[in-house]
């Protein structure tokens, strides 16, 4: 305080300056949050690189300065489209999303890449724009990978594997460039043929379905026809068997009658014969119109037409 009193400055300055110096010194306190890591530069060079969460102190600027990047936050960037565009828009998609496949077809791929900070120093000071680097890396890996694959594989069965391949190769490139980034996921939002040809592609799917439908329909017809035929066959056989039984039954019945009659007949043939004859004739003539012309009479018969009744004339000689 005595030193201060001797200084050729005003009284106010005598006390405010030390206070300002204290404030200045206190500006070196900083907090590293739980999802962050601290990096301290001294005169521009890295002095401390992985300051853990908590309260810390660094020499105030311009001697030292601090950065606290979030290291657990999952950042994401879109590849092939702009997140702010409506994904369901029918606008023709930009060339950004188009890729050539190995069989010189064109498809549109829109993806999201998720990443976290792996090395804070590399992430902060390595690349000018780490997010753009991730996007560019993913784009070029997509181009290179898809250029060797078939379009049908990419659109259907290969989707998952392609994601895996793209993630691995993009990570390798980022590691090579010391970007300090670790990819957590590469997800394809859409993989589809460009709008110009999507109808033709959809028709192929429809055609596949139609093929299955045709086959199923045919099979169900077959499944109906065969049991029906077997049923009919069974019926035919049953009818034949019934006929067979009927034949035998009838034969047995008739012959039984005959045999009994014959056994009786042989005991008194003449009288039985006479009786049988007379019985039969009387039955036959019971309700008939009988005409008995006498000897020598001629009988003239007329052929009748529909509706006419019979009136034979008896000619008297």
């Amino acid at each position: 305080m005595k030193v201060l009193n001797r200084l050729p400055v005003s009284r106010v300055a005598r006390y405010t300056v030390p206070v300002l110096l204290l404030i200045y010194a206190a500006s070196g306190f900083y907090q590293v949050r739980p999802d962050e890591l601290g990096v301290v530069l001294r005169f521009g060079a890295v002095a401390r690189s992985s300051v853990p969460p908590g309260l810390h102190y660094h020499l105030p600027w311009p001697i030292e300065e601090q950065y606290t990047p979030k290291t657990t936050e999952v950042r994401k960037i879109s590849v092939g489209f702009n997140v702010f565009d409506n994904l369901l828009d029918e606008e023709p998609e930009s060339l950004e999303a188009q890729r050539l496949t190995g069989d010189t077809n064109i498809i549109a791929i829109k993806s999201m890449v998720h990443y976290v900070v792996d090395d804070p120093v590399q992430f902060l000071f390595g690349a000018e724009n780490p997010a753009l680097l991730v996007q560019a890396a993913a784009e070029l890996v997509l181009t290179e990978t898809v250029a060797g694959k078939e379009v049908d594989w990419v659109l259907t069965t290969g989707r998952t594997e392609l994601q895996v391949q793209v993630k691995a190769q993009t990570q390798a490139l980022l590691d090579q460039l010391h970007a300090g980034i670790r990819l957590t996921a590469v997800n394809f939002v859409t993989i589809e043929p460009p709008l110009d040809v999507i109808e033709a592609f959809n028709d192929v799917s429809s055609a596949k379905i139609e093929r299955e439908e045709l086959i199923n329909k045919a099979e169900s017809v077959a499944n109906f026809v065969l049991p029906k035929a077997r049923g009919e066959a069974h019926e035919l056989l049953e009818q034949a068997k019934a006929y067979q039984t009927e034949c035998l039954a009838q034969a047995k019945g008739l012959t039984q009658t005959f045999v009994s009659l014959k056994n009786y007949y042989v005991t008194a043939p003449a009288i039985t014969r006479q009786r049988m004859y007379l019985e039969a004739i009387s039955e036959c003539l019971a309700h008939q119109q009988v005409i008995v012309p006498s000897n020598g009479d001629n009988l003239r018969l007329t052929l009748l037409e529909e509706g006419q009744t019979l009136k034979p004339q008896v000619d008297k000689q």
Partner: protein, 297 residues
Amino acid sequence: MKWKPIGVGLGLIVVGYLILSCCAVVDVTELAVLTIFGRPTQSITEPGFYLKWPFPIQTLHLIDARLLVLDPETAEFLTKDKKNVLVNSFLCWRVKDPLRFIESLGSRLQAELHLTDVLNSELGAVLGAYDFSALVSTNPETVQLEQMMQAVTEHCATVAEKEFGIQVLDVRLKRLNFPDQNRASVFNRMRAERERIATRYRSEGEEQATKIKSEAERQRREILAKANQEAEELRGKGEAEAAKIYADSYGQDPEFYAFWETLQTYRQSLQDKTTVIIPADTQLMKVFYEGPESTTR
């Protein structure tokens, strides 16, 4: 005198400025070049605090030391087999020799312009030396994309280092496509190919369906034919057995059978309102005409 505090103040400001001017801080993201009266003399590649002569004797020029990405405009190239391709390149670079950089280029903009030129010329040369199938193919043996891009990177790196003090780390193809007019014909080809595939699926379906249905029909006929045959055999057997029974029993007295069967026939045929003509000289009518004394013998 009142001028004294003002003079002291001014003096302090000038001294302060000079002191500051002697301090140079190079950040970890920067490289620097010191110039003496505008002439580049030395480079600083390590971050930290440096002392120098104050302005205007020595000036510090700071340069971005970070990894920079060049994203040039879409360019069209021709492959060896005369195919046009649209290319969006990716070139990754950083300043290696700041002195050389300042001497040759001076600014980021100049760097990007020159790098783009070098890139496009090298890319054109390499692409023109390979067929299209070296870029895009389902056959892994024909694809030489990696070698091609490595060649481009190496050529660009050599030129950039020597002439601009720039290190080119990687050159790749970010996007590859056909020019607008070619793209339309590619779409046409894609559509035609898809139509072919769709037609094939549909006709396969028809073919299979027909096969299944005709096979079923064939089996149906087979089943019924067999059944009919068996039925015929059964009927035949039945009739034969019946015939045997008839023969066995009627055969015991054929004459009596004939007599009996004839009477049955009369019974059955002379049914409803038939007119029967019986001549007078039949045995049946004998008694009728001759009276009760007659005999039918």
